[in-house]
Symmetry: C2
Subunit: 217 residues, 2 copies
């Protein structure tokens, strides 16, 4: 299977969802699934599913469907979930603390090794057994430790400055929670989380439903 | 313009991003923009942009481009941002507190009116001037007040139970932060936020870059 083939980012963004659904099927001891059944569960058309999964090579078999376990493992491989990434959180406010308590990330290959903040009240404390360090010490921490990902939970105005600082230090990826499309002139991968985008989609759906005066999902 | 035309959810999900970019252009006093310029800024192909915006009627004009302000307003209308939704947060842990402090939502038409929790230490306190109430009182609160959206920041196991409870009480939309695809047999719109999906996409991109040993965004 040619994994180096260029896959569209729209397909990549759907893979975590396939991965979660397949995990549910595995838990229920379901060993095979057709694109039609996946379609009914996921609300994606069967043809879209076949097209998506074909991008990565022919996992399915006509009349048999997909082998749940092998499809699950393949998608995990494609997403690189077997890789181990070391991650730090910058900003131990509510969002940073919420992330530090969110144990699901470790299952996805992301291990939290440190948290940084500027607040003397917080420095020295721990969240979920991870110590909060002084942001002043981040340069030497990143130099001495292999840090792959920085999760940025800092105030809006500080975000580009801190992002710039850690990108220069060689962090490979930034996961940004400030409501901005962060861009940097460095060789760093940025994934921006826009919570209000999802809220706007919810508003759109409510609006459509009110207009149509009938059920619509 | 026929707004009732069925628009694919994939297009709808891109609209908040257009909306944010156009807001940036407005701030810079830019009055018109071509699909090509939008494409360069947003990393979406110009043809995809034209196709997306055509779904809602012909905003663009050949050789002139799009009028930034009118496109911005139209997308805001389509998203229903002029509607006012009353929202409550259920669960005043870190994620609930992060959302309560996130003032951006009000700009998107969502007004936070109450927060609910079960913890006696939290009940009676306020976050961002919104009082935390006893979850026991939520039924009468929803009956007495117009609540459009409940933001669910409760523990994983509690999520389906509380979702069911507020859906029965007539809340129109649920914004769910537990890592599950919540589904209910009622007439309620659910938007699930899967933070780790976004993290997996970041991992994928880092993995691709390491494999290719060259810049890739």
């Amino acid at each position: 299977m040619d994994l180096d083939k260029k896959v569209s980012i729209a397909v990549v963004r759907r893979l975590p969802r396939y991965y979660r659904y397949l995990a549910d099927l595995l838990k229920m001891d379901i060993t095979r699934v057709s694109s039609k059944e996946l379609s009914a569960r996921m609300g994606i058309t069967a043809s879209q599913i076949r097209q998506d999964l074909n991008c990565f090579g022919g996992f399915g078999q006509q009349g048999y469907g997909y082998n749940v376990e092998s499809l699950y493992n393949e998608i995990g491989n494609i997403l690189g979930l077997n890789n181990k990434y070391q991650a730090i959180i910058i900003g131990a406010g509510n969002m940073g603390q919420a992330l530090a308590n969110y144990t699901n990330f470790e299952k996805r290959g992301f291990k939290l090794t440190a948290i940084f903040d500027v607040d003397p009240e917080l420095i020295g404390k721990s969240i979920n057994n991870i110590g909060i360090r002084d942001l002043e010490t981040i340069d030497s921490y990143i130099k001495d430790n292999k840090v792959d990902v920085a999760m940025l939970c800092v105030p809006y105005e500080q975000t580009p400055i801190i992002a710039d600082r850690v990108a220069r230090l060689g962090v490979k990826g930034l996961w940004n929670f400030s409501p901005m499309d962060l861009e940097l002139p460095y060789d760093v991968i940025i994934e921006n989380v826009h919570l209000s985008d999802s809220l706007m989609v919810l508003g759109y759906k409510i609006n459509q439903k009110l207009k149509n005066g009938k059920n619509k999902k």
